[in-house]
Subunit: 276 residues, 6 copies
């Protein structure tokens, strides 16, 4: 759900590139980024594509700094859980089985390896995806052996600097656990896409009070009816800017350092250059 107007070959998105341009770009051994999101309720004030949109934004902004490329975002993710995303009882939350997400991830890595990609960043914007992305990567790496790309998987919010969190949360940062459609995400959206926030609909639900365990079949018990797990009151574009830009700087620094030290893998099936 990008809001930028792409031009052919003029940017970081591979889906707005010709294959000949892609081949040309690969010669520089760029970091290729796969953003992964979800289609999940984010309260009455944020869009269901929030996780995908944030992952995509982080990926594009990072790729611009790193000279990287960005693949089309995986727009659907693993099943929402009550304690982290409100869970599967909300209409609109549209989730995949774990096996499906594992297979998607594996298939794409296999293809990128065929292309000769040697540096891959799986940039996750939906907490529940983490372990199925991990397994997809593990399975692909086992299958590809020494020809596997060097792969990083991360959740972007882990790079938000403590100083930013201290500044944003006046009464101390309580941790990311309940930050679903709450202060952080609402602020980020107000900064990045204010037209996608209905500020009048921000609920006043207090923070959810979950036990230390999960229950199944999911019933939504304990989840605030709005789907928002912690207060979003006080969200602002200014706070969003702090969060987004602080996170991006830290992410850039870490990835530049990491991938700068990665050597290209052994060539696997050499990618041919077209038909004929």
């Amino acid at each position: 759900m990008t809001t930028r107007r792409p031009r052919l070959n003029d940017g970081v998105r591979t889906d707005a590139m010709s294959w000949t341009e892609y081949v040309s770009r690969l010669r520089a051994d760029p970091v290729v980024i796969l953003p992964v999101g979800a289609h999940e309720q984010h309260g009455p004030h944020l869009p269901m594509g929030t996780d995908a949109l944030f992952a995509e934004h982080m990926a594009e902004a990072l790729a611009e700094r790193l000279g990287g490329l960005v693949l089309p975002t995986l727009a659907y993710g693993y099943k929402s859980q009550a304690r982290s995303g409100g869970g599967q009882t909300f209409p609109g939350t549209l989730s995949l089985d774990g096996a499906t997400l594992i297979a998607m991830t594996r298939d794409l890595i296999r293809e990128l390896s065929r292309h000769g990609v040697s540096k891959l960043l799986v940039l996750d914007g939906h907490y529940e995806n983490q372990w199925f992305l991990t397994e997809g990567i593990e399975v692909a790496a086992r299958e590809l052996g020494p020809a596997a790309p060097s792969i990083v998987r991360l959740e972007y919010w882990d790079f938000c600097p403590q100083s930013v969190l201290d500044a944003v949360f006046e009464h101390g940062f309580p941790g990311f656990d309940l930050e679903h459609a709450a202060l952080i995400e609402t602020s980020m959206m107000l900064y990045l896409h204010p037209e996608l926030v209905d500020t009048g609909a921000i609920p006043r639900d207090g923070p959810a009070d979950f036990p230390h365990f999960d229950t199944y079949p999911q019933t939504g018990t304990g989840v605030p009816p709005s789907g928002v797990l912690a207060p979003a009151a006080g969200a602002s574009a200014a706070k969003g800017q702090l969060i987004v830009e602080g996170t991006l700087s830290a992410l850039h620094e870490a990835m530049a350092a990491h991938f700068g030290s990665v050597a290209a893998p052994a060539p696997a099936t050499p990618a041919s250059s077209g038909g004929g």
Copy 2:
């Protein structure tokens, strides 16, 4: 890869909608559309996201006419075949295993059924997807039984009126077989997104001359080096307009007639309305 700037709840895209708006829209029993594309070489002059972009455009324009909703596009599709898309030997073509596409389709239908969606259109923009979308639908329908939505699967180009094809192809329409990155797709893109066409890069390759069989492992033999299977010369935005608008009209007419006569299915697992 939309190029429209969405506003929350202001349009047909579910990823730009809150879950509460989605629940509200579902009361009218709308047609929900899943566009399916691919990430596949389309010659040196068109972007790799071409199939996804066209499927998405058709879905959005159709949804506007039908009062429907559009889900996020599946941006990756089944493996490109030499005779229809140039095949898997091109770098940039990024394809899924059949089982993965089957699973994606099944998972999404299962979730939509939970939401109470009763009319689903799987709108395919990549020829090779057809049978795996079909199997995903068959498997979901079997699992859901009487609670399955009423589902249509189609390839959009089958709705292009013969009169349009006659007008566009001066020397007679040779059939869709080789229309990969050729006259039709180039014209459509010139009409919809001229900034995504590099008209200077349109190759002069003649039409590919394929035998009546497929060979494996894929080697690219017989595929023009550019990846374009038939001449794109003569492509124009005017022709693209004829094709796009003619197809949309026919598609609208057929879907309005079909879904207008569909009754809602037996309620399955009633979708609850949030947490709590």
Copy 3:
């Protein structure tokens, strides 16, 4: 469902061969043919094994001309679709999941590679099988890497010469789309196995008039009650002879040319020669 009486080692069928004879035949690097059919309604006048029988006949006749071998026919195929085979609502139609047909195909190729087979022809007689055979081949080829056989997949009717179709269809050939249990198949069966046709039961249903889309769950709407999609009136053994022999000639020519130019693959797991 062959009607020929085999003798041990005296012909092209591997199931009527000893393993020692098979080893001996493999020394000539023959084309090995896997016929694939279906168990599907073919109207009240043709047997449900029609597709399997035709694929098997084509395979045996072709093998005799090419010095090839024929494996046991896959007698069950992918799910019948309303617009091409009448669909899954008919009792007697006995179909497989896509994943099952993919797995069958992959398993057999894996074994043939172990035997040292280097030339494989998957000869399809059931339209709906095509893409699952393709995926089975793709998956096997990926797994086997350079040791994969050279594989061709085709649908036999694509080789029927235009001149034959012109001769058989007095009012012009309308295309293969509705040729299910219709003029072509009835004529072929009258030529090959007249005892398997109940000419008195040929229905007078006019051609089916399908829309440009598929609907699910399958209900049989629009399918003629007989299961025959186009008129079979006018079918004759003479027309069948034209079709069968014309198709075989073209098929022979194409396969002789193609496989004549194929070199043996790199040896994979060398097949041992028995126990001990």
Copy 4:
């Protein structure tokens, strides 16, 4: 690999029946039989389709006595094991993964249930198939619930009367363990299809002497080079007649008694009667 010449609707084979005849036959609630074989080395004197041919013969002869129907034989089976079939080191042995055979079995039962079949006999002619057929049946029965047919799975040789074995084996019957391509199977083939036996090629290998365990990866160690696990000397058509007819009588008696007492299951998805 039948050697009988079928006529439409004139016999027990469903692949030589029209769907309308099949519907008509189902009204009598017949036992439907699925023969399952293999494509496996059977020494230098017997064809690789031996197991399939025997299963098919037993099924057809039994169906004639029971008024039953016979489905197309599954011609490929589970992997040959050294101690029971010589193992996977022989070229020509063409085996399936366990998961594939499970899926085949499940898919067919699911379809038969849709047709309204209430009595199914899975008649196995290849020892190694047993447990994967069992799992396919178990999985289908779980999925179908109360609408599952009443299913029997058996290996035909378990019905060979002890009196026959005593008569055939002068020095006492040593058990079925090594009876692969040996006295029993060679005699049966001499009785049923003498043209498929090369009596001059019967090897003089003594019985194999296997330990009480299996070893992997399979190497063929301990397997006689001919693939024959016990002497076939003394095989005769007369002995074959005793075995085949004695087995059939016992099989008939058991199945008539068992299925005679089975009531039809609850109707599941009622099979419609064609299109329209």
Copy 5:
């Protein structure tokens, strides 16, 4: 790896119970507990079965307090990750694919539902298992529908009281992230099974310093050579007692409250009572 000597029917373990006793116990609608562990390196001083042993201990002690039952522990878990368990580069770490752990979990729940179990606790002792257990539970719950048991999944350490952590960690509890084979686990083992600790082998490695991302293929980079992620110095049986008993008390309280309020589900397939 229990160290208690069971007597038939005298305790909580179902594997030391007859089926008749099990049926008798089920009448009280007990909480059934499935402990899940791993076989994973835990430094040079702790056994590889540590996670399984702790999960099993917690399960047994909890079952005694709740009047519950304990199933055999799953002794193998999901792949170790560098940042939480040292990763897959250590010999001895013996892990499952995600799909396998999902299937194990689903299969067992399906069977327990057949038995009539209505309260299930999946008690996890290996961090990396969490999401695959979750998916196994989700898949089973979907399949079973209203007959699914009421299921809880938890990681036992989440119940360790803050007061205990404050007492155990003199300089403040740094969080569970690096507590692999470190102070907590070593203390617990010294309390529960001192004979399974080699106190002389406790390494002096400082805490690992991991970045905020995971890298693949796993190489062990950044993991201390011992496999211990944080200092275990200062571990003692007394601290272990505080941790184990504090955790158990909190766990007991939470589960008694939760399951005390759970009603039995709708009966699914009623479990019969034996053969005959």
Copy 6:
């Protein structure tokens, strides 16, 4: 469900070993043993973990004699069948799908290969497991290629000497078919774990009288209500000692001879020695 009290690194169990000790032990190229059991009804007098306990005992005693290692027992097995274990109609019988057991076996072999294990014994204590263990081994061996360990799969009772069976069964040994929870297993348990036998509960059911076929869906018809398939009367610890020790001696002899002649495989992925 061991009853021995392990000490760290003092014995054969890998779950009571540190990874450093495991690495040290592997230098001697030991036989690594995977015991496989079940959780299955064994009448009113024996525990449901009987098969697992016997497999584990045999594995540990054998490992001590061979200098081998024992992995944690697989405590759940394939579905019980009426004729061999009473079947799936008993509450308490807790079984896996075939695919799950195949996957478990494959995963563990894959990991052991990574560790450098070259000799693996899969020691089965539950009859129904055999073919799914076999397939798991076959699949792993195919995937690993020349780096696969040398693997043996056996059922321990096949090693019980005829002389022991003659001594134990006064009226002649009727074969293992009905020996479920009967004389052999009850005697073995009286010898190994008398506290796990309720001698007062041994039923007086006569031997079951099964036909030569299996029926599905399983209903328990023909299975004695106790779940015991043949009389256990006359069971004694003395007979158990004869059986257990006789079996172990034969097993030891066979495995020592077999594995003594096995050379280490080609090194695959060399196992690293920890992190860092």
